[in-house]
């Protein structure tokens, strides 16, 4: 195996599991430490740099960071990263003075954004401070996209969304509300330097089964129905409701139905629980609200009597898996479930009826635009896609990540540079040693279990659609939860020439991460030869240059390093040091000014 090149920012970045997993690479451990120090405003601003909507995301994020969190491999559960983000948002002071100010003199470039969802708003957030003129076309009368009209207010209060959209819009975005774009060609003809399409995936999927069309007033498409609830076109629903599908939309539909008068709500899934698309916490929250979740039922037909929907027929399935993991089902029997309304929540489709097919924007066989994965550029050089519009429905944090990348591309384009020439990532790496056995971070391990979110009581929830269910963490909960973070950004940094091979670091490491051994075999074999076999292949192995005395190498398995610093405390020569890693992410504008920002 070759020695590891830790001067490449990717190595240490990958060690920060949460930050690596976050599509926008939010600096999680740093913001958690700021919360621990009660520096909420700074914590919020640090979040905002990468994820733009900390208040929204602290309540609604899909949190890909949490399954990745190292704490989850060491302890039973990951750090409550997402809900700590909400703490920073809830407890911050006024942050407007710290927001970037757009220059008085604009740079003369005009950019059109289609849709005011998180993707477009992120593009605006990144381009406005650089002097771009940004025009946002939005079909609705308010900003936020699906965050506004689909995510129910009991999960995301409107005030939180208003404030965070406001920070961006007030930097000077020109908002054209109530203005659907009906022709991309016409928009391009207006002379914009670039157009960003963040129009989402606005069409709910339908279900083609017998009886579907017979009682249209009682059968709804999930995302349309939620939007209608938001716009107050719908204020009641019948008592017995069946939801088809078990994704995130289904969870919001069933819980909303509970608040609009439904007493008997059943969510019906084709497959078993471990195949559900909804996040585990959403399932828990729905079940807490007495929603019944029924597995292994495939819709067969809708039963309509005299024009009235009275129930649905399902085939009960028995699933088996062959050794390769391919599932097949067998119908066991047919059952009827009576109901008064059905909500279909089986997915969303994209639709671009307003994009002409002869203006240079290519679409594939599935009707999706052809978009470059990195630059977000379509086959038309001035047209970019991001968010759900680019590759189908994802989530808010991906929309934000797309927005950042598209903003970089647009900035490159407007500066006459190839969009594929991406600005590099950088890093800083600074020792956190204060003195003998004293560090600029709390290196002690706190064995506390993950805090459980407090919820509003059921009766109050059902009384008003807008009552927020999650109450946030109490001060005590915050204090406990922040100390569960392992500070994975505080890296164990090794200087081979200093090592005298005394084994002190190896002997003290609580989780057997370290080994001094010969470097004579491939990585697969090396992984087996370590102090504890390194079986988690998703985690890197660090391998040093040969050591001075015996020419053996120092090997570190990153998997369950607690970042406790004991190796560095025990090292007599300071060959090991604890160093704060800070990823410097490229942002729009940096590409053109900060050329030299490469390796630390």
């Amino acid at each position: 195996m070759e020695p590891t090149d830790v001067s490449d920012p990717r190595y240490y970045h990958k060690v920060v599991d949460c930050q690596w997993a976050c599509p926008a690479h939010t600096n999680v451990p740093a913001y958690i430490r700021l919360i621990a120090q009660e520096r909420y405003t700074e914590s919020y601003l640090l979040n905002r740099e990468s994820n733009v909507f900390p208040g929204v995301l602290g309540r609604t994020c899909d949190r890909p960071c949490e399954p990745a969190c190292r704490r989850g491999r060491v302890d039973e559960k990951p750090v409550a990263i997402c809900r700590l983000k909400r703490v920073a948002a809830d407890l911050r002071d006024e942050i407007r003075p710290f927001l970037p100010k757009p220059p008085d003199v604009k740079n003369g470039r005009r950019i059109a954004l289609v849709g005011a969802g998180p993707a477009s708003l992120t593009v605006a957030n990144d381009l406005l401070p650089l002097g771009y003129e940004v025009v946002i076309y939005e079909r609705n009368r308010e900003p936020g996209g699906l965050m506004r009209i689909n995510i129910p207010s009991f999960r995301l209060p409107a005030a939180v969304l208003d404030e965070e959209c406001g920070y961006i819009i007030d930097m000077g975005a020109e908002m054209r509300y109530g203005t659907p774009v009906t022709s991309l060609k016409a928009l391009l003809d207006e002379g914009y330097d670039a157009v960003f399409i963040g129009s989402g995936a606005p069409k709910g999927k339908d279900l083609d089964i017998p009886g579907r069309a017979a009682a249209p007033a009682q059968v709804h498409l999930g995302i349309e129905w939620l939007a209608n609830v938001h716009f107050k076109h719908v204020e009641r629903i019948e008592p017995r409701v069946i939801i088809i599908g078990v994704g995130n939309t289904a969870m919001d539909c069933c819980r909303t139905a509970k608040r609009l008068g439904a007493t008997d709500v059943k969510v019906i899934a084709r497959r078993g629980r471990r195949h559900f698309k909804a996040s585990p916490w959403e399932l828990e929250d729905a079940e807490e609200e007495l929603v019944e979740i029924i597995e292994n039922h495939a819709p067969k037909r809708m039963l309509v009597e005299n024009g009235t929907l009275v129930g649905m027929e399902f085939e009960v399935l028995d699933w088996t898996e062959d050794p390769s993991g391919r599932a097949s089902s067998r119908v066991v029997r047919t059952v009827t479930i009576p109901c008064d309304a059905v909500i279909l929540a089986i997915g969303q489709d994209n639709a671009f009826p307003w994009i002409e097919r002869d203006i240079g924007v290519d679409f594939d066989a599935q009707g999706m635009p052809v978009v470059d994965r990195i630059t977000h550029q379509s086959t038309h050089p001035r047209v970019f896609f991001g968010g759900d519009a680019a590759w189908g429905p994802q989530n808010i944090i991906w929309a934000v990540a797309h927005g950042h990348q598209a903003a970089i591309s647009i900035d490159l384009l407007c500066n006459g540079r190839p969009v594929a020439e991406r600005p590099p990532e950088g890093m800083t790496l600074v020792s956190v040693k204060n003195g003998l056995h004293s560090w600029a971070y709390d290196n002690d391990y706190d064995p506390s279990a993950r805090q459980v979110m407090r919820h509003e009581e059921l009766a109050r929830r059902f009384r008003d659609l807008n009552v927020e269910v999650e109450l946030g963490f109490s001060a005590e909960q915050v204090a406990s939860e922040v100390s569960r973070c392992l500070n994975c950004d505080i890296q164990t940094h090794f200087a081979p020439p200093k090592c005298i091979e005394c084994d002190a670091c190896i002997d003290v490491c609580p989780t057997n991460c370290l080994t001094i051994t010969t470097n004579h075999s491939p990585e697969t074999d090396l992984r087996q030869r370590l102090s504890a076999p390194a079986l988690n292949l998703t985690q890197e192995i660090y391998l040093s240059e040969p050591l001075p005395q015996t020419k053996r190498v120092m090997v570190k398995d990153e998997d369950v390093c607690l970042h406790c610093g004991l190796c560095a405390e025990r090292c007599p020569t300071a060959a090991w040091d604890m160093r704060l890693f800070d990823l410097i992410q490229p942002v729009a504008g940096a590409a053109c000014d900060r050329e030299e920002l490469v390796r630390a």
Partner: protein, 351 residues
């Protein structure tokens, strides 16, 4: 010293032995020795050996004297018995303890100061009695705890941190032990666990006193250039004379690699030690051969390491004293003490 206690978290692939214990269950309290002290590596090797041998922690007694080395006993097997005696008295206290309760595993840890200066008489007689114990000397050539004065193991010409050279001849504990009838004599290096761990295991399985001289550098007072007990010097001058592999009772015996001079020594408990000596004329089961080899290495300026000599059939103190197999502490008082009448009868015979 460290700022925090060792977190109670372990690597997911850490295995359990047949007692259901992981390596970490054989640890003790956090070490307060200097960072990088060789003694901490000996501790880690002891933890490894005890875990592999599946020693029951509550059936072991850790015995020590005074010195940084003697503090080692606090840092492993926190559930075991222990006695931290006065300076140099570890061998005598262990002799007494073993006399009273022969059923425990005795792990004695000492230093070159503790054993070769103030305690040399105690050590010599424990060796002669062949007390059933592991006797580890963590040998760094200095009195570490009292800030680095030369000890009796310092080589002639080896310099102190300030630069002055030692002029008195050293005592080599391995040669001394061989010359007074030790039944198990080994030398190893704290920086070489591959060698040290099997030797510790063999020593623990040995019936009788197993003396292991472990070169264990003092990073603070004796790891400089000019020292003959530094990490670098030891690595450069160590010559493994005999490599030992310890095979537990039911281990599969694999054929030795050809070209080596292999000897299998049966231990009392049915386990075995396989010895591979590097020189054709060296027989580690022959005392004279071992003595000659260590002397020859010494003359060449080499440090002979490995399991230098073992007598698999050795008889320990209890065999020699013909005590009953039941530990004395378990014998009823009537059997331990013959009573006044019997004593009077005995006395009468000499009148």
């Amino acid at each position: 010293m460290t700022s925090i206690a060792k977190p109670p978290v372990r690597h997911p692939s850490l295995r359990q032995n047949s007692l259901g214990l992981t390596l970490r269950d054989y640890e003790g309290v956090m070490s307060t020795l200097c960072a990088g002290c060789g003694h901490d590596s000996v501790t880690a090797a002891l933890v490894q050996a005890a875990w592999e041998l599946e020693l029951e922690p509550h059936r072991a007694a850790k015995m020590s004297g005074i010195g940084c080395s003697s503090k080692t006993t606090a840092y492993f097997m926190k559930q075991s018995h222990g006695f931290n005696s006065v300076h140099g008295r570890m061998p005598s206290v262990t002799t007494g303890a073993n006399a009273a309760n022969r059923s425990l595993t005795y792990i004695g840890i000492s230093g070159d100061g503790d054993s070769l200066s103030i305690g040399i008489g105690q050590m010599a007689h424990a060796i002669r009695r062949n007390v059933n114990m592991l006797y580890v000397i963590e040998n760094n050539g200095v009195y570490g705890l009292t800030k680095g004065q030369f000890s009796a193991s310092a080589d002639v010409g080896s310099t102190s941190k300030r630069g002055e050279a030692n002029e008195q001849a050293p005592i080599d504990p391995a040669l001394l032990a061989l010359s007074i009838g030790a039944t198990f004599v080994a030398r190893s290096f704290s920086g070489d666990k591959k060698q040290l761990v099997p030797i510790l295991k063999a020593g623990l399985a040995h019936r009788g006193l197993a003396l292991i001289d472990v070169i264990s550098p003092c990073v603070t007072f004796n790891d400089h250039e000019g020292s003959t007990k530094s990490y670098r010097y030891t690595r450069e001058h160590e010559v493994e004379a005999v490599h030992a592999d310890y095979a537990p009772v039911h281990a599969e015996i694999t054929l030795p690699e050809s070209g080596d001079h292999l000897r299998v020594v049966q231990m009392h408990d049915g386990s075995s030690v396989r010895l591979r000596s590097t020189a054709a004329d060296y027989d580690p089961t022959d005392r004279a051969s071992a003595y000659a080899h260590v002397r020859a290495c010494q003359a060449r300026g080499e440090i002979a390491t490995g399991l230098l000599f073992v007598d698999g059939g050795s008889r320990d103190m209890h065999d020699l004293l013909k005590t009953p197999p039941t530990p004395l502490i378990d014998l009823p008082h009537e059997r331990l003490c013959p009573g006044a009448a019997a004593l009077d009868a005995l006395m009468a015979r000499y009148r």
